[in-house]
């Protein structure tokens, strides 16, 4: 069992609070990503789990054991650094066996382990090379092999793919997932890249300013952002935010906003009536706005809107359109490549009333996302 429990964890650098009262429970064998912008404390948190940074407040419990005062070398934790930190004067073999040699594992056992890990990561024929003689992708795999060979309870990965090019990164993501299935270790993965987090992890812990914004499965983080930060950070292109007030009009519940009256779906927002008169920030993902031509069947809760095309940005398979609603307000949405839209053209778009995200402007919290019960509480 190697459950990782963080209880009221705090960390200060000088006067700067890097991690603030953080609670997180990572289950045995789970793949959890610590996601957030640079400076959000995710790497610091990882280094605290590894024992490279002290824990100022709270308890760090791994596998039922309080780890706060246990030195790194006695923790059953392996880590892959962003830089890979391969020992430049040692061959691939010596790098992989370094930890086992220190633990004085018998040569036969060492050979077995070496063969196992080399086969798993496809490092055949590279054993006698030096780190500088292999490619970036190979170095990343050696770093991973070096961590896995130690059979740790928990595997920490600090942005291990950030030095790879796009094609390699995609391969490495698949490989990491496969390895996780194969070895079943608890993996804590740090990244600022939402695609990596979405693709690989079972749960995402979204951090901002040293605090936990949301801790949930990737699809829920995307579908039900608990905070405005969450809505903004996850999803690409960035979400639209519009100010408004919850109101009733002609027996319909919706939001009175500067771009018009936005209908709310009754099934999704059953309790909206109770909030009439409340100021909100409406988040609308570009993916949830559709262009007339695309859509034959419309729902009753779709709001139609006329905009003027201000900018067309090609994203390859789709295009991002920036549309002007009024002089000050623009909305961003996606169209397929086939749609024939020109600059300055007036087009009608539809906003999906089921997929609006309503936030309290003061607390920045989602008013309707019934907080899913997560074991991080």
């Amino acid at each position: 069992m190697a459950e990782v429990v963080l209880k009221n964890i705090g960390k200060k650098f000088d006067d700067h609070q890097v991690i603030n009262n953080l609670n997180l429970l990572i289950g045995d064998g789970e793949f959890v990503t610590l996601l957030g912008p640079s400076g959000c404390g995710k790497t610091t948190l990882l280094r605290m789990i590894a024992g490279l940074e002290t824990v100022d407040n709270g308890d760090l419990i791994v596998g039922g054991k309080r780890y706060n005062d246990i030195p790194p070398r006695e923790r059953r934790i392996a880590m892959v650094f962003q830089s890979y930190a391969l020992f430049p004067h040692m061959t691939v073999r010596a790098n992989i066996l370094f930890g086992l040699k220190i633990q004085k594992v018998s040569p036969t056992r060492m050979q077995e382990k070496l063969e196992w890990v080399i086969a798993m990561l496809g490092l055949q024929d590279l054993e006698d090379r030096l780190p500088k003689e292999i490619s970036g992708g190979q170095r990343q795999r050696v770093a991973l092999a070096r961590a896995l060979v130690l059979d740790p309870d928990v595997l920490l990965l600090d942005e291990p793919l950030s030095n790879l090019d796009a094609a390699l990164r995609e391969m490495a993501m698949e490989e990491l997932k496969r390895i996780h299935r194969q070895v079943g270790k608890t993996i804590i993965y740090v990244t600022h890249n939402q695609v990596e987090a979405m693709t690989m992890s079972e749960r995402i812990a979204l951090l901002s300013g040293g605090e936990l914004e949301q801790y949930d499965e990737p699809r829920y983080v995307y579908d039900r952002p608990e905070t405005m930060f969450s809505a903004q950070f996850i999803g690409s292109p960035a979400i639209n935010f519009i100010d408004g007030v919850i109101a009733q009009k002609e027996n319909q519940i919706g939001i009175d906003s500067r771009i018009g009256f936005l209908l709310l779906d009754k099934e999704r927002f059953g309790r909206a009536g109770e909030f009439t008169g409340r100021k909100v920030k409406v988040g609308i993902r570009p993916q949830n706005i559709s262009y007339l031509e695309h859509r034959a069947a419309r729902r009753y809760s779709d709001t139609s809107l006329t905009i003027t095309v201000e900018l067309i940005e090609s994203l390859g398979d789709r295009s991002l359109i920036v549309g002007k609603v009024s002089d000050e307000i623009t909305v961003r949405f996606l169209i397929t490549r086939e749609a024939d839209i020109a600059l300055d053209q007036e087009v009608r778009i539809f906003i999906d009333g089921r997929r609006l995200h309503l936030f309290d402007p003061r607390t920045q919290k989602n008013i309707f996302a019934a907080r899913r019960k997560t074991s991080g509480e």
């Binding site: 590894a50 024992g51 490279l52 790194p72 070398r73 006695e74 923790r75 934790i77 392996a78 880590m79 650094f81 830089s83 890979y84 930190a85 391969l86 020992f87 430049p88 004067h89 370094f98 930890g99 220190i102 633990q103 030096l130 780190p131 500088k132 003689e133 970036g136 170095r139 070096r146 130690l150 030095n163």
Partner: protein, 281 residues
């Protein structure tokens, strides 16, 4: 316009070429003269008024043969080698741990210590030799091998620590942390990661120390005088006192500078950067 650019580019090339040739001449010329004198026959030196030739009339290795037949010469060479060797050993034994700490830890007063260390060497040897010699005499370290070794260590240590510190300093911190996470203790990290990666820099320090001791004269002279133990530099001074022919002195000098030249070339090879390439990224 482009013509002007071309001309200025050309003139710059010419300037650099001249500068390089001048520098090479500056370095090569004395070595050449030394070597020329060491293989000169008497008539090429005492030319009786006519200019000294650029190459001896009858090049000869007689001086080398004479030197190599002198038993005293072998004695002083072995002395010099032994003293230099043990100076290297003692300097590294003291200097490497010091540079490890100064290079890897943010200890208080680190900067002043480093500056203090190197400014010790700003004193001219001739000024510091008197108190050192006096002290060594009171502890009866004069006229001994270990006395000279200790004196030379004194001279070499600031350099060893300075070069050593800059050898330990640039090793990425991640390597240390990685080893730590993998179960290594501080000593194992030093032995298996940091020390091997600092070897190129430490080799440079060792060679430098060897050369410093090998051609050191002042401290050797004050501590050993012209007594029982003699070094190659003292031997040269002793021969000088008997006013021997110039070609013999030149021969001794060639023998003295031979290891210097060899080691300097080796040093260059070891100074090459990029040893830690491939460690990170």
């Amino acid at each position: 316009m482009s013509n002007i650019v071309k001309i200025s580019a050309l003139s710059r090339k010419v300037f650099w070429l001249c500068a390089v040739i001048f520098t090479v001449l500056l370095i090569i010329a004395p070595v050449f003269l030394l070597f020329k004198y060491s293989i000169s026959d008497a008539s090429s030196i005492n030319t009786g008024g006519s200019p000294v030739p650029l190459w001896p009339y009858n090049p000869t290795f007689r001086n080398f043969l004479y030197l190599f037949s002198d038993n005293q010469f072998y004695g002083v060479v072995i002395n010099s080698l032994l003293i230099a060797f043990f100076t290297v050993i003692v300097s590294l034994l003291i200097g490497v741990p010091a540079s490890y700490v100064l290079g890897r830890y943010q200890i208080p007063l680190r900067k002043p210590l480093l500056v203090g260390l190197i400014s010790v060497r700003l004193f001219p040897d001739i000024a510091s030799v008197i108190p050192v010699a006096e002290f060594f005499i009171t502890i009866e370290a004069h006229n001994t091998y270990w006395g000279v070794v200790l004196a030379h260590t004194l001279l070499a240590l600031p350099y060893v620590i300075f070069i050593g510190t800059s050898a330990f300093e640039p090793i990425p911190r991640d390597l240390e942390h990685q080893a730590m996470v993998m179960g290594a203790n501080r000593f194992q990290i030093f032995l298996k990661i940091l020390f091997p990666l600092a070897i190129p820099g430490l080799t440079a320090a060792a060679i430098y120390t060897f050369l410093l001791s090998w051609d050191e004269f002042i401290f050797a002279y004050f501590l050993l005088g012209l007594g029982r133990i003699s070094t190659l530099t003292l031997y040269l001074k002793q021969k000088l006192a008997y006013a021997p022919p110039q070609n013999l002195l030149a021969t001794i000098s060639v023998c003295l500078s031979f290891p210097v030249i060899i080691f300097s070339l080796l040093l260059q090879k070891h100074m090459s950067a990029g040893i830690t390439s491939g460690a990170v990224k």
